[in-house]
Symmetry: C2
Subunit: 235 residues, 2 copies
DNA sequence: CGAGTTATGTACGCTAGCGTGCCGACGCTT
DNA sequence: AAGCGTCGGCACGCTAGCGTACATAACTCG
């Protein structure tokens, strides 16, 4: 296990807890390595653990009969298994590891017990839950109204925030699944962003060149999401 | 104020509470009359009250810069002001009264105090919150993938469940705003549903003729929503 | 009754994105 | 070095839905 100090700092939801609560919490967690493509939850299945990503990140995907759509993403700023905060041990969404790395993992029963003994953590996670709900609601509108190009820019920014590098391992195929569009649609949008000098890409690798430009190319939803998170969860 | 018995029975979230908790809760509420078009919350504004609709129902609408989209609906099966359950006194969405009628209203401070003293209610509302989150996530996908006609059918069913009558007061204009599409788009979808003998309509009034047929015409999202609600909140 | 307002029908050209399929290029494996 | 699987560019015709605009038709109010 990594040092407590390091691990504590590594997840934003845990970082600013009172030392005693934080250490108690982290002592109950184990550090796990998540690998690309790993499925942490299947919808309607039982949630046995909550995850607090350190340097990994995870897409949460709604599944209709035959279509899939990413509706939320969790990295070191968030957590997985929020339904446990509501006392529900069922996963609503498919959780797919999109960025490899480590995460703190805690079993459901311990997690729920610790929530009761740590009001500060509990409150903080409820606020996070509020943020996520908001993002879900706004995402619905964003996905409906905004163009692929804007949505792609937003998505790259969200991923960039959670990965530590400018180089993202992503195929057009994968992006198409995330955004719920055709692969060819992604190709066109990617060409547009590359032509504008905002990204560069090549065979399963996308490099963020001009982050500020990407923000301008994305819909306001990106900035709104960030603003809400800061408002609710940054001290 | 209506009789406690009547009022208790009238909102599904409160109906099955232990008698003592229920009566304590309802005694703290006032019954208010909501009128069509009334705005209960503006996004980012402070939430001063929670509402438990009795025979009214309310649309919750996400607002982007220049577009609006209904993302959730609350009637006697639900509540408004769920963010208070999370200890957040801010409204994320525009809450617009869409069906006139009564609701129980409770002030935010009292509500939060009573939550602490009524674990059963608290748990029940957390489960409701889980259901709403799920609906938000699925709605995002539904809105993205499904046709106007299917979505319209679904929306009419949801409204029909919350209104008590087969006759709904709705203009195409209003429906267009709810679904985030053109008025003309609604007209076409409505014509299709009418031609199939599922609804009949005329100048601001839509009559549900064949509920079962509407269910078949709607996307599965309607049935899924209902199933989840039952699973989580019907004893 | 007549004027104004509101709700619905319809039509026009337009655009984003779809489904599909094909090709070439890259890079890994052997 | 050859072969194969993966990735991305591109092109085809097609559809849903857009923005707009205009015409009825139905109610409302004076």
């Amino acid at each position: 296990m990594t040092s407590i100090f390091h691990a504590a700092d590594a997840n934003q939801l845990l970082a600013d807890l009172p030392v005693a609560e934080r250490d108690a919490f982290i002592a109950t967690c184990e550090t796990v390595q998540l690998t690309f493509g790993e499925v942490l939850y299947q919808p309607t299945q039982q949630v046995t653990h909550a995850y607090f990503p350190i340097d990994s990140f995870i897409s949460q995907i709604a599944i209709l009969v035959d279509s899939r759509l990413e509706v939320a993403m969790a990295g070191r700023e968030g957590m997985l298994g929020i339904s446990l905060v509501l006392g529900v041990e069922e996963a609503p969404l498919l959780a797919l590891v999109q960025g490899e790395g480590q995460a703190l993992r805690i079993n459901a029963a311990n997690f729920q017990r610790l929530l009761l003994s740590s009001p500060v953590l509990h409150q903080r996670l409820k606020r996070y839950l509020y943020v996520v709900m908001n993002q879900l609601a706004n995402s619905a509108a964003c996905i409906h109204f905004h163009r692929i190009e804007e949505r792609l820019a937003r998505w790259l920014l969200m991923t960039h925030d959670r990965a530590k590098t400018n180089t993202l391992q992503l195929t057009h195929e994968f992006l198409a699944m995330m955004l719920g569009v055709r692969r060819a649609g992604i190709t066109l949008a990617a060409i547009a962003l590359q032509t504008r000098g905002l990204i560069r890409y090549h065979r399963g690798e996308i490099i963020i060149i001009d982050r500020q430009g990407l923000i301008e190319a994305s819909c306001k939803c990106y900035a709104d999401d960030c603003a809400l998170y800061s408002k609710m969860l940054i001290l």
